[in-house]
């Protein structure tokens, strides 16, 4: 069977861009995949330098690639993952993609004409926009998942495991650079009574409001996490014991001064805070010390700050 007739319909209907350049990088041929998307006619661009036909080509890079293909007579490739596109072409997913141009995979193949002398490069351009879009969605989902993995579902502050890993990290950093770091552990006073009176929904509302209020009082670098039911921890990097005590007093007073609204009722809450500073102990020991200080604050009548001391 004579197959020559296949060539034209195949090239024109192929869902791959075909661009043939001579050894000087002049356009010899391009198929409909490219002419339609770039709104060009082959007759207009034939014999012209490819860099003048398509604006915005990465010229230095492409020259090196094409010259390599010609010199080594070996193919070269370009992937959308490393270079999103070579030729600025529109894609067919205008709504769902946030990319202006078609993401492309490109193979550059050496060709020799039947005369055995004239050499060409064939660029095959495939639309990788779908892969690009999926990868973007995947990355977005991954970062949302990562956020969810370290957040407490109720209050939106860090959850215990992430917060504790950060405490490990901050104490190691403090040890390495000889910087201070302090820890506050606080607990909502008489939370059980509060729950009994306003129900669990009331208790939850208080925890949410309290977390939001305290977040407002902290620096961006401070790390607030929910340690257990109504117990929270705050890591204060670059903060010595005296400053940590000041911060604790400010938080304690601010909470006591604020009423929390729930179902039209205004709820008064107080917290007790234990303070400890890093002095080469482990993260677990630091938590224990802050917890003992917190216990003392409770024992001394609640709604106050206590600092851990070594006695």
């Amino acid at each position: 069977m004579q197959l020559d007739w296949l060539l034209q319909p195949l090239l024109s209907q192929l869902n791959t861009g075909v661009l043939i350049l001579d050894s000087q990088h002049n356009v010899v041929f391009l198929n409909q995949f490219i002419t339609r998307r770039a709104d060009l006619q082959l007759a207009e661009v034939e014999g012209k330098l490819v860099y003048t036909v398509f604006s915005g080509l990465p010229e230095a890079w492409l020259r090196r690639k094409l010259d390599g293909v010609l010199a080594l007579q070996a193919p070269a490739f370009s992937s959308w993952e490393q270079r999103q596109y070579i030729i600025k072409l529109p894609h067919l997913r205008p709504v769902s993609s946030d990319s202006e141009y078609m993401a492309q995979n490109c193979s550059m193949l050496p060709l020799t004409a039947p005369d055995g002398v004239s050499q060409y490069v064939c660029l095959l351009i495939e639309d990788a926009t779908d892969a690009y879009v999926y990868q973007h969605q995947l990355q977005q989902s991954m970062s949302m998942l990562e956020l969810a993995n370290r957040t407490d579902g109720l209050t939106g502050v860090y959850n215990r495991s992430y917060w504790q890993s950060q405490l490990e990290y901050e104490t190691q950093r403090a040890a390495r650079y000889q910087h201070p770091v302090s820890l506050l552990l606080f607990d909502l006073d008489k939370f059980k009574q509060l729950n009994d009176r306003y129900g669990h929904q009331g208790g939850d509302a208080v925890l949410i409001e309290l977390s939001a209020m305290i977040t407002e009082l902290l620096r961006d670098t401070d790390l607030l996490g929910r340690y257990g039911g109504e117990e929270f921890g705050i890591i204060l990097p670059e903060t010595n014991l005296a400053c940590a005590q000041l911060v604790a007093n400010r938080i304690c007073a601010a909470v006591a001064a604020q009423k929390i609204l729930f179902n039209g009722q205004s709820i008064a809450v107080t917290i007790s805070i234990g303070v400890a500073s890093y002095t080469n102990q482990t993260a677990d020991e630091l938590i224990q010390q802050a917890d003992m200080a917190l216990y003392n604050a409770k024992r001394l009548g609640r709604n106050q700050v206590a600092v851990w001391t070594a006695d």
């Binding site: 090196r64 080594l72 070996a74 490739f77």
Partner: protein
């Protein structure tokens, strides 16, 4: 179980053909990359695939490596995959070797570029020796900084029955860098390769 091993004669023959292919590739590359580059004809070993992960893990302890894969297909059922292993510390040298300015290409792009240049030039030479023709898939990065390369190599190597380990050494006048190339060939293609080798050996 099918025996995929090579006789000493077949192994010797393949090694010689690989040597010739590598010589051709080295010469082409030296001309292309300019004469300041000296490429040695590399050492070649036929090894079992399960030997590879441990071998390379021992060879590069604690070093992060990039693994780049490139698949090839030839006539008469010959096919396989090449894996190039690079130490990331070499990236700047590679950039200079290729004449890249740091601004216009990513590290990943430079590594895939040098991989496809090295492997396709070599494989074209090998295809010529085997009187075959290869076509190539685009190179893929299999592992980089965030993943231990030996684990990835183990899972990749498992899919193949024969590995040809090729140590390539580049010497530049001012710098030098090493990379490793592994040629992996699946079982049925090993059988085809042996048939081709026997034909060549029968001529001598």
């Amino acid at each position: 179980m099918t025996d995929f091993s090579f006789s000493e004669e077949q192994r010797d023959g393949l090694q010689e053909l690989v040597n010739i292919a590598m010589g051709l590739a080295s010469d082409k590359l030296a001309r292309y990359l300019n004469t300041l580059v000296h490429l040695q004809v590399p050492a070649i070993k036929l090894v079992k695939t399960d030997y590879l992960p441990t071998h390379f893990a021992n060879r590069y302890p604690q070093q992060s490596m990039t693994m780049i894969s490139l698949g090839f297909f030839g006539d008469h059922g010959l096919r396989g995959e090449t894996i190039m292993l690079y130490q990331l510390a070499n990236v700047d040298t590679i950039a200079k070797l290729l004449g890249y300015n740091n601004d216009d290409s990513s590290e990943a792009e430079m590594l895939t570029d040098i991989s496809s240049i090295l492997t396709t030039t070599f494989l074209n030479g090998l295809a010529e020796q085997l009187e075959n023709n290869f076509s190539y898939a685009a190179p893929r990065i299999l592992s980089s900084r965030d993943q231990h390369f030996a684990e990835k190599l183990a899972s990749t190597a498992k899919q193949w029955q024969l590995a040809l380990q090729v140590d390539i050494r580049y010497q530049l006048i001012d710098y030098s860098f090493n990379c490793d190339m592994i040629l992996l060939i699946p079982g049925e293609a090993v059988l085809r390769l042996r048939v081709i080798l026997d034909k060549i050996l029968a001529n001598f």
